[in-house]
C-alpha cells in the first residue's frame, strides 16, 4: 500500500524539524497552564473524600500517569509500525523518542499507585491483574529501550524496536480490561466514554485537566527529543549545517 507522495514530503526530517519547532512553545505553555490549573483545582477546590480523606489526591497524578503509560505505548507501536511499513524516518524517531517518556509515566503510575495503596488498602503491592500487567508494560518499555540501544545502525534499531513494540501491544488491552475480567484489589473503572462517571464533578475536572496536561507534556517532550535526534542523524545535510551555524552562534554568544 503506497502512501501519497505528499505524506512523504511533509514527514521529511527537515519539515518535521521546522514544524515541530513552531509547535513546541505552544505545547509547553499549554502544559504549564493546565498543570497549574489542574493542581490548584485538585488541591484546593476538590473536596475531601469521605472515605479516603486527603490521600485520594494522589489520584490526580496516578491516574493520568497510568493513562499516559498506555497511550504513549500505543503511539510508540503505531509509529513504529508506520516506520516499518512505509520507511518513514520521522515515524521511527517518534517511536524511539517516546519510549523513555512512556517508561517514566509507567514507573510513576506504579510508584504512586503503591504509595496510594499502602494507606488505603494496607499494602504497597499486590499481584493482581492490573498491577502485574502494568509492571509488564514497564518491562516492555525497558526492553524496547535496551534493544534499540544495543543495535548500532539506527535504521535496524528502529525496525527491531518496532517489531517488539507491535508484539507487546497485546498487553495493553489486558491492562485496560483486567479490572473487568478479574475481580481485583484495584478499583474498577469510574470514568468511561459512555456512562455518566461515578465520581464527584469537582474531582473529575482536575483529573481530566491533569490528563490533558500530561498529554501536552508528552507532546512537548517527544518533539524536543526527536528534534535533537534529527540533528544527529541528518548531520551531513545542508539544512542541519545552517541550523547548527545559527544556533551555535547564539549559544557561544558571538563570532568565533
Amino acid at each position: 500500500m503506497k502512501l501519497p507522495a505528499i505524506v512523504h514530503k511533509y514527514s521529511s526530517p527537515k519539515n518535521f524539524y521546522t514544524m515541530s519547532g513552531k509547535m513546541v512553545p505552544w505545547f509547553a505553555w499549554g502544559f504549564g497552564l493546565t498543570l497549574v490549573f489542574g493542581l490548584y483545582y485538585g488541591f484546593f477546590i476538590a473536596p475531601t473524600d469521605y472515605q479516603q480523606g486527603e490521600s485520594y489526591r494522589i489520584m490526580f497524578v496516578h491516574v493520568p500517569a497510568a493513562w499516559m503509560s498506555m497511550f504513549i505505548y500505543m503511539v510508540m507501536a503505531v509509529s513504529g509500525a508506520v516506520g516499518l511499513i512505509w520507511r518513514i524516518k520521522t515515524a521511527d524517531l517518534m517511536a524511539s523518542a517516546s519510549a523513555p517518556i512512556g517508561a517514566a509515566f509507567t514507573f510513576i503510575a506504579l510508584v504512586t499507585g503503591s504509595l496510594w495503596g499502602k494507606p488505603m488498602w494496607g499494602t504497597y503491592w499486590v499481584w493482581d491483574a492490573r498491577l502485574t500487567s502494568e509492571l509488564i508494560l514497564l518491562f516492555l518499555y525497558l526492553g524496547f529501550i535496551a534493544l534499540q540501544a544495543s543495535i548500532e545502525d539506527p535504521r535496524n534499531a528502529a525496525r527491531a524496536g518496532a517489531i517488539l513494540a507491535i508484539v507487546g501491544v497485546v498487553n495493553i488491552p489486558i491492562i485496560h480490561y483486567s479490572v473487568e475480567w478479574w475481580s481485583t484489589l484495584h478499583q474498577g473503572a469510574t470514568v468511561s466514554k459512555m456512562d455518566k462517571p461515578s465520581i464527584h464533578i469537582d474531582m473529575l475536572i482536575p483529573l481530566l485537566v491533569m490528563a490533558v496536561s500530561f498529554k501536552l507534556y508528552y507532546a512537548t517532550s517527544v518533539l524536543m527529543r526527536a528534534r535533537g535526534e534529527i540533528l544527529l542523524r541528518e548531520q551531513n545535510s545542508r539544512w542541519v549545517k545552517e541550523i547548527v551555524e545559527n544556533e551555535g552562534k547564539a549559544l557561544v554568544g558571538g563570532a568565533k
Binding site: 509488564i136 526492553g143 534493544l147 544495543s150 535496524n156 507487546g168 497485546v170
Partner: protein
C-alpha cells in the same frame, strides 16, 4: 525442478531433527536444568508435603519457562554462524514458513521432553494425579507458545554481542501471561474448579502465536542477518 514450499518445509524439519539427533547431548542440557531447578525447591524451602503441593504448579511452570528460554540458543544460532540462515532467507520460499519449520523442530526436541518429564517432577512435588494431568495439558498448550514467542526474541537479538541477557528481558514480559494462566489452571483444577476459561485463553494465545510469530520472527531475522 524447483521444490515446493511444503516439501521444503518438511525437508527443513527433517534436517533440523537430524542435526539435533547428532548433537543429542546438547539437548539434555535444558532438560537437566528443568529437573535441577525443580529439585532445588524442596531443598531450599522445606520438604514438607503441604507446602510443596501448594507451590508445585508455579515452581514447575517457572522451571519449564526458564528451561525454554535457555534452549532458545539452539534455535537459530548455529545456522546464523555458518551462513545457512542467510541462504535460507535468500531462497524463494516464504521466510515465515521456513521459520515455522525451524520452530516446530525446536519444540519437538525441547518442549516435548519437558512435557514428558513433568509427571515425574509433579511426583517429586507431591502433586495429585488430577493436577499432573492439567499440568501436562497446560504444558502441551504452553510450550509451543514459549518456542514461538521465544523465536521472536531470538530473531531480534541474534546478531548482538551480549544478546543473551537482552533476550531474557525481551521475552519474559511476553511469557508472563502464559505462566499466569497455566499455573492458575493447575491450581484451579486441584481445587476442583472448572478450567475451561484458562485453557481457551491458552489456546487463543497459541493460535495467535502460530499465525503471527513466524512473520514477526522472519522480519526480525531479516534485520539481524543484514
Amino acid at each position: 525442478m524447483i521444490p515446493s514450499t511444503s516439501s521444503a518445509f518438511i525437508a527443513l524439519i527433517k534436517r533440523d531433527l537430524m542435526l539435533s539427533y547428532r548433537h543429542r547431548n546438547e539437548l539434555l542440557n535444558p532438560l537437566l536444568f528443568f529437573v535441577i531447578v525443580v529439585t532445588l525447591f524442596p531443598l531450599g524451602t522445606s520438604p514438607e508435603k503441604q507446602l510443596l503441593q501448594t507451590m508445585a504448579p508455579g515452581v514447575i511452570w517457572v522451571a519449564a519457562l526458564l528451561a525454554a528460554m535457555l534452549s532458545l540458543d539452539s534455535l537459530f544460532k548455529s545456522d546464523y554462524e555458518d551462513g545457512t540462515l542467510e541462504q535460507m532467507m535468500l531462497s524463494h520460499h516464504s521466510n515465515a514458513v521456513l521459520v515455522l519449520a525451524k520452530i516446530i523442530s525446536h519444540w519437538l526436541v525441547t518442549g516435548v521432553p519437558i512435557i514428558l518429564m513433568a509427571p515425574l517432577l509433579g511426583l517429586f512435588m507431591f502433586m495429585p494425579i488430577e493436577g499432573i494431568k492439567t499440568l501436562m495439558l497446560t504444558l502441551l498448550l504452553g510450550t509451543p507458545i514459549l518456542s514461538l514467542v521465544g523465536a521472536i526474541g531470538m530473531g531480534l537479538t541474534l546478531g548482538l554481542n551480549r544478546g543473551g541477557m537482552l533476550l531474557s528481558l525481551l521475552v519474559l514480559p511476553l511469557y508472563i501471561p502464559v505462566l499466569i494462566f497455566s499455573a492458575n489452571a493447575v491450581d484451579a483444577s486441584l481445587a476442583g474448579m472448572d478450567i475451561k476459561g484458562q485453557l481457551y485463553f491458552l489456546g487463543a494465545l497459541l493460535v495467535l502465536s502460530i499465525t503471527l510469530a513466524p512473520i514477526a520472527t522472519a522480519t526480525a531475522l531479516k534485520i539481524s542477518v543484514e
